[in-house]
Amino acid sequence: MSDERQKPGPSGQTEADPAALLDRVARDRDKAALAELFAIFAPRIKSMMMKLGADAALAEDLAQETLLSVWRKAHLYVAGRGAVATWIFTIARNLRIDQLRRQSNKPYVDLESIEIESDARGAPSLLEESEIVDRVSRAIETLSPEQREVVRLSFVHELPHAEIAVRVGIPLGTVKSRLRLAYDRLRPMLEDLH
């Protein structure tokens, strides 16, 4: 706990910079760093998975599988490609989709290999993890309450647009137009973050 990049977390405790932790996992196969990433992300992934309808046991499995993937794939994470939280979000999302599709026996390999091969380019983001997350969070806060609601229902509750329409009581076309407006509003703020 001596890394100078540590910042006070919301609870007043210091929370290490996930990018530095991930770097230690990739370079040194450092299990203490993996344990710290676990402490930061596993409970949040579990919470997100439960909100989208997984029971506690399945949500916990998905959180564990996500962290194990982080251990396996740490070397594939391209530093400067954005927040570690974003990368871990995409891993958790893909594992959940994979789990939903398991009957079809077609693992969701997503686009990660294609992306890494063809897009490891562009100016790396010079912002730190916490700054990226703060900026995106602040950007989301600037949305109108209606726009924020559809974005949250879409990402955190992972509801299909048709279900959002039913839950909020608006037509499907309105869900889509609110998402479009939300993105137009967020886009300039996400532009240089990658």
């Binding site: 409970p43 954005g82 939280a85 871990i88 893909n94 077609k106 693992p107 879409s154 996400l190």
Partner: protein, 218 residues
């Protein structure tokens, strides 16, 4: 490849959130494998998911969860290369589609669906609501005019077609809502082969029968 038509941003946001039904997700992923602009956009929409994950409240993990993770990490002796999914024998089939079409486009068993039009349904998981199909329109032939019972995503894999929205060539994706009516006509010279996801949930069934029956034989 110059791509002129992309998925609607609301469709890309759903892809990023992981809420797209399997057939639609396959079409979008296949387009993204061909389209750098949409990969760039998806990186931005993924940021939203990452920020929301970071803002999640913590749901405590059960006792011993960390120890089990570290044990599992111990068992991972070597960095095995990531499974790349099955690669298709056909270079014109991008990887996200290769899992559904391992033998390539030339091995597809087409089913006659009208003059100049053939289809082939691709199997998806039992959780899928919509259907994933290949559509082949003979060079210079037209698809019967139709509307859509729900959302329809059409990605051009080979050849090109034109309709009232413009010219769609390989890599272009048409993202149509219900209410859209059109009549695609394949360009002469080469058959046009498209990957199509259609919404075929039960509550749309009566409309689907009216609109897409000639094509997909619902």
């Amino acid at each position: 490849m110059t791509i002129a038509f992309h998925p609607d941003i609301s469709t890309l946001m759903a892809w990023s959130a992981g809420t797209l039904d399997e057939p639609f997700a396959v079409v979008v992923s296949t387009h993204m494998a061909m389209c750098e602009a949409c990969r760039e956009t998806a990186r931005r929409t993924d940021l939203i998911g990452g920020a929301l994950l970071k803002a999640e409240t913590a749901e405590p993990m059960s006792d011993g969860a960390l120890e089990r993770l570290l044990e599992a990490a111990d068992d991972e002796r070597i960095d095995l290369p990531e499974p790349r999914g099955s690669d298709s024998v056909d270079p014109s089939v991008p990887q996200p589609l290769a899992r559904y079409l391992p033998d390539g486009l030339d091995a597809v068993k087409w089913k006659f669906s009208g003059p100049g039009v053939a289809t082939c349904e691709l199997p998806t998981g039992t959780n899928a609501n919509g259907r994933l199909m290949l559509l082949r329109v003979g060079a210079g032939k037209r698809v019967p005019e139709h509307g859509h019972g729900g959302q329809e995503l059409t990605l051009i894999l080979r050849g090109a077609y034109g309709d009232r929205f413009g010219r769609f060539a390989a890599g272009d994706l048409a993202d149509h809502d219900e209410d859209v009516e059109h009549q695609p006509i394949a360009e002469p010279g080469e058959d046009c082969i498209c990957l199509v996801a259609v919404d075929a949930r039960l509550n749309f069934r009566s409309r689907v029968i009216r609109t897409l029956q000639p094509l997909f034989g619902f």
